[in-house]
């Protein structure tokens, strides 16, 4: 039976970024991933490295995301150097489009609140139509304005996943695909992971199985109160450069495709698509960019977000099972750099990033006030 310092359960963006970081520190790591039958947000997402909507009511989450946006500037060239894969990262700034004055005023209020809650560490600007049109010349004449931050950007999420897997390999980590890990048992001070036809022995274990963390977390004294939330997205034919910066629901990839998103649907474990939903998404994109009227859609799909009750990540070390960790989040692209460069070193025995101290699952417990 093989013996590893770390077994990471789940080889999506979260598990892969953590495993990549752990291998980089010299640990012996195995990633235990499930195959194509699993629900895998990492293969169906929108590719934004996005800051401007994160952390309302949880300023630490804004700080954590901002840290990742900065660390992306190291991660992308490092992956290129190590694996030869260009993940097409651009920290170009990004806009959230506001179609009407009312939307714009509401957005300004939200952004102001985030700026106050972070004591000014979150910077943004509200753009009127003219300012927006100078950044995004293709914008439609009816759009009122937008919010903008310089920290936003995007990357190709599939190249990112491939580069992380290649990086793990380069750094002598192992990636093993198979059935789902079903059982995690204590084995002295270490752990034994079991799945059909395979059993792995490891000193420490990181649960990063997306929605699959449900059913695993409680085996090591942790909680993963996650729900699926479906997003549907569309891809157009490749077109000549049209957009220099990403927007919340439309971005242009390095190859010229436009990616159009997305919906938020509560439909259980169903990653299909519905024509009505796709039509709404297309209509909204057309209102913002009327020039797209004869551009053709070539693909569409649905994927399930890994949602916590408040939308913020959960990172936690088990108290009852020392050496077991849990990581779940809804923004695995955005946070990939923080996961590789700050979360992994903590799990490896280093400093606890102060931003994530409040991000344990305890925050979901009902608190009874003392005076009640």
């Amino acid at each position: 039976m093989a013996n590893y310092d770390f077994a990471v359960v789940g080889g999506g963006l979260v598990g892969s970024a953590i495993a990549y970081g752990l291998c980089g520190e010299g640990h012996r790591v195995v990633v235990m991933d499930e195959g194509d039958v699993a629900y895998r947000a990492s293969r169906g997402n929108f590719g934004l490295v996005w800051i401007q909507s994160k952390g309302l009511g949880m300023p630490n989450y804004s700080d954590w995301s901002q840290s990742s946006s900065r660390l992306w500037l190291e991660l992308a060239p490092e992956l290129k150097e190590l694996t030869g894969i260009d993940v097409q990262h651009q920290r170009s700034g990004g806009v959230h489009i506001c179609h009407t004055e009312r939307e714009w005023l509401q957005r300004r209020e939200t952004m102001d609140r985030l700026s106050r809650e972070t004591e000014g560490r979150f910077h943004f600007e509200m753009l009127d139509h003219r300012a927006l049109a100078s950044l995004v010349p293709a914008i439609g004449g009816d759009v009122f304005g937008a919010s903008w931050t310089p920290m936003d950007g995007h990357a190709n999420p599939l190249y990112l996943l491939r580069a992380l897997h290649a990086g793990i390999h380069q750094r002598d980590g192992e990636y093993r695909r198979g059935g789902p890990v079903r059982r995690i048992a204590r084995d002295g001070g270490a752990f034994r992971l079991e799945r059909d036809g395979e059993s792995v022995h490891c000193q420490r274990v990181v649960l990063a199985a997306g929605l699959g963390n449900r059913g695993l977390a409680e085996q090591v004294g942790l909680e993963a109160p996650l729900l699926p939330n479906r997003g549907e997205v569309m891809i157009t034919e490749r077109v000549a450069p049209l957009l220099d910066i990403p927007t919340t629901y439309l971005r242009q990839t390095g190859e010229g495709s436009l990616q159009i998103g997305d919906s938020h649907e509560d439909v259980g474990m169903n990653d299909g698509t519905r024509t009505e939903v796709l039509a709404d998404i297309a209509q909204r994109a057309l209102r913002a960019f009327p020039r797209l009227r004869d551009v053709r859609i070539v693909r569409s799909w649905g994927a399930l977000r890994v949602m916590t009750p408040d939308g913020c990540p959960i990172y936690q070390a088990s108290v009852t099972h020392p050496g077991a960790y849990l990581a779940c989040c809804h923004s695995g692209v955005t946070l990939a750099a923080a996961h590789a460069k700050r979360l992994a070193p903590w799990i490896g025995g280093g400093e606890y990033p102060e931003e994530i101290v409040p991000l344990t699952a305890e925050r979901f417990h009902v608190r009874v006030s003392e005076t009640a």
Binding site: A138, E237, R238, A240, P241, E255, G256, R291
Partner: protein
């Protein structure tokens, strides 16, 4: 060079135009099949590096057979049936979005 296993029968052909040149195609064939049978295997150049491409899967999956057909850019040649008088052009790089 591709060749028909069975020659197109007289009277069951259509004439299309490719880059200004008249081609005789077998009725019912896809545009991609018709061009290949006429010895044309470079259909397009890629949007990023302008490298030459031609049909690969012939079943709608790879998008390497893109052509401009009757004025509409980026159409999959392997998914469109030839029609009398059809005008076909090579797809050079990415299409532009009209202003």
């Amino acid at each position: 060079m591709f060749a028909y296993l069975k020659r197109p029968e007289e009277g069951r052909t259509v004439t299309i135009e490719y880059e200004g040149r008249k081609l005789i195609a077998r009725a019912g064939d896809t545009v991609a099949a018709a061009l290949l049978a006429s010895g044309i295997d470079r259909f397009r150049s890629t949007p990023v590096s302008q490298s030459p491409r031609g049909p690969w899967c012939m079943m709608g999956a790879c998008f390497d057979c893109l052509l401009e057909i009757d004025g509409v850019p980026n159409r999959q040649g392997c998914q469109v049936t030839v029609v009398e008088g059809m005008t076909v052009r090579s797809q050079q790089g990415a299409r532009r979005v009209s202003p």
